[in-house]
Symmetry: C3
Subunit: 312 residues, 3 copies
């Protein structure tokens, strides 16, 4: 077989096997451009942390103005591409307002990611200071980009939200769908393997460890055998809940009440009331009321191995 | 200690601690070159999706010819390096035919990855369209590169197959050994933490979630204490099987019968018949016959928490 | 809203939401520079393996001298930045000696990572040769950089140790804290999702699979509600222990005795004596004495499914 034979066969395959080609279409948003935007967003949210040169305060207005202008232009272009691809009737008209709407949210998002960073410092004894968290904790990238992607998701921009969170997934192993809704002070420790689905809702001061899944139980198929989209499939987690490593919580009607604690490796497919603690003990999943936190931890230490896991 | 002292000590260590040096040998394939080839393969499989500029249909023949020629040259070089390293008697003679054999498989592989992409669209309610899957679903990179690496594995090319799948592992958290055999319509959702071993065989329309291991139970050591290579150590998964998050299936003689469903967190070390469902219920691992899918899901919802996990 | 409005709001947010800005301060170590140092360390530890051109033995002294000089300069600069950031009284005076102290450890570290690579070859039947392990096994990057980061951790250099291990975490999914202490011949297979905490101590010839957590049970809060830092919170693993996939071992007083085997998915919150085997069997966690390895494996195969998982 010569290279010409191969080329001919490949071109035939391009004719025959459609759907995974993209010819003569508009330009798709490229992962490279989206990755660069992701990096820009991190610079705008945490100014001075990721610069190659020190950022003097007197230069901040100028640097910020230049960066915003540049990001606005590139973001508008990528949004327009995504809209054009989705056969939006007015990609040109919709792209710039959408980009501006997102950028206009940045001050508000900064206040929220500030609470996330604080939660990380309070939640991890190994953290030496806030700066170490911003520089080296993967959850900061994952939740910051999810919060940005979520705004684009609400603006109904196709493709780009998922590409942004997938960039974070690739770098951190944390897979947060752009559709999920997060409260303030959200902290994921370590994070590898965390999966949070599209229709999950998470309250304030929620803390999650590596390998936790907030997933779906099942989904319906339409008459053509394709899954029905847009149904509430993932759980609600109320305020002040802690979920330890590798726990799995499933279902769109499952609701974890405020102030609850879910032990490591626990599987939950139904709601539990506020102030509960759930852990594996032999053949039973135990769900009971929490007492004072101190009592609680004592209790668990006594039950020890049989009580299941208790990762903090 | 001066820099000269350190240099002297390091050079002494290079003399003394061998096996992790590579001097005066042939050039090894470099991860950078292999990564670039990986990216090229994705362009050839999904033309127009990862380009920086739109690809007009009339330019496809020319662009494809140029890319093929370039890839053929670089692939031949890396294969030759790998063969030379492995002290193949005829690296120069074997490299070009092997590279051509792989490239000649691309049309066939395109037809198969097309089934994978379709399976992803059908398997995930959050997927908006096929393009989002190609652009932002990590399983596409992982399975596409595994299918390419598997061809090189069959051609007995050393090093490069594993370097290709390790590139995908690094980017996706999905660790598919080049030796594993996959049928059509293979879908991994989320994917972080999936491990599929060298001698696993997977049928058509198999669906796997994050954290699933298809691994080995044990292995034998030879008289020098090194593991015996090449034994069948990983399970067979028949057609139309679904394996939920964090399930672990082990052993070279373990066979999961067609149309079976394995619940989340289940551990299986022995075969189960076609049409089975396996899930944890208290102290028992329950394995029983599946009924109609609708009944099945109802049943699981009734058993709920005790029934174990049921992630879709 | 115009771009000027957004800029004004963002600048106001920079005034108002502090702690996540870094203005007028010294330059922080940048992740890019730390990543480049990480790559340099791999070149120095495994000379000839990651070069773009073959490395002739006669060129090694010259190449090594040039690389060492370059790394010493850049490492000193980043260490100085980290010290200055941490308000060290003498960053300029301390940086160069710290950098030299680390580089002076390289010969010793090479001897140790050589044992790690050997352990990987002995521990994985799929490994074809030592070179494949160095080129394509993620554990090599993770443990090599942890050993480097640990030296900087012992030298009390801020930020950089964690940035080095986070680089490895990002690339491999293996999260080894710089504070953890590892013996020789350490092997992690696959590795995605492994988490080993700051105060863990690991003996010689320890083998760990994907998803294993060596974590903390709980931590104390000080009077301001921040976690108390520096307490021993993570377990000790003695020599010759094997820990299978997704096992979780927690607590600073938990000690896994030498020659023990921990089955997949097992959760342990208390110590077990040397020579133990721990596995899940129905509602019980079984911990008993190991007999001869051969007997042991036979036993497990008989117990099979109920015995829990036995991944090698």
């Amino acid at each position: 077989m010569t290279l010409e034979d191969i080329q001919r066969a490949l071109l035939e395959s391009y004719e025959k096997v459609g759907g995974i080609n993209h010819f003569d279409g508009s330009n798709l948003p490229s992962q490279e451009s989206v990755n660069r935007l992701a990096s820009d967003f991190m610079h705008l949210l945490f100014p001075g942390f990721f610069e190659l040169r020190p950022l003097a305060k007197r230069d901040v207005p100028e640097v910020t103005a230049a960066r915003l202008k540049d990001v606005a232009a590139r973001l508008t272009l990528e949004v327009e591409r995504a809209l054009r691809f989705a056969q939006d009737p007015d990609p040109n008209g919709r792209a710039a307002p959408a980009a501006m709407a997102l950028l206009g949210k940045l001050p508000e998002l900064r206040a929220i990611v500030h609470t996330d960073v604080t939660a990380a410092y309070r939640g991890d004894p190994a953290a030496r200071n806030i700066d170490e968290i911003i520089l080296a904790y993967p959850c900061v990238l994952a939740i910051s980009l999810q919060r940005i992607a979520h705004e684009l998701y609400l603006l109904k921009i196709p493709l780009i939200p998922r590409m942004l969170t997938e960039y974070a997934h690739e770098r951190t192993g944390i897979d947060l769908h752009p559709g999920a809704r997060f409260g303030t002070h959200f902290f994921i420790d370590h994070g590898t393997g965390v999966v949070i689905g599209e229709t999950a809702r998470i309250g304030d001061r929620v803390k999650i460890y590596q390998g936790v899944t907030l997933g779906a139980k099942s989904f319906d198929l339409d008459s053509e055998g394709n899954p029905v989209k847009g149904v509430k499939r993932h759980p609600d987690i109320e305020d002040d809940v802690t979920i330890y490593a590798h726990a799995t919580i499933l279902g769109g009607e499952t609701r974890i009440g405020a102030l609850s604690v879910i032990g490591a490796n626990v599987s939950l497919l139904e709601s539990i009331p506020p102030g509960s603690i759930a852990y594996n003990k032999g053949e039973h999943l135990v769900v009971r009321s929490r007492r004072k936190r101190e009592e609680l931890i004592e209790q668990l230490t006594a039950d020890q191995v049989k009580a299941g896991d208790w990762v903090i």
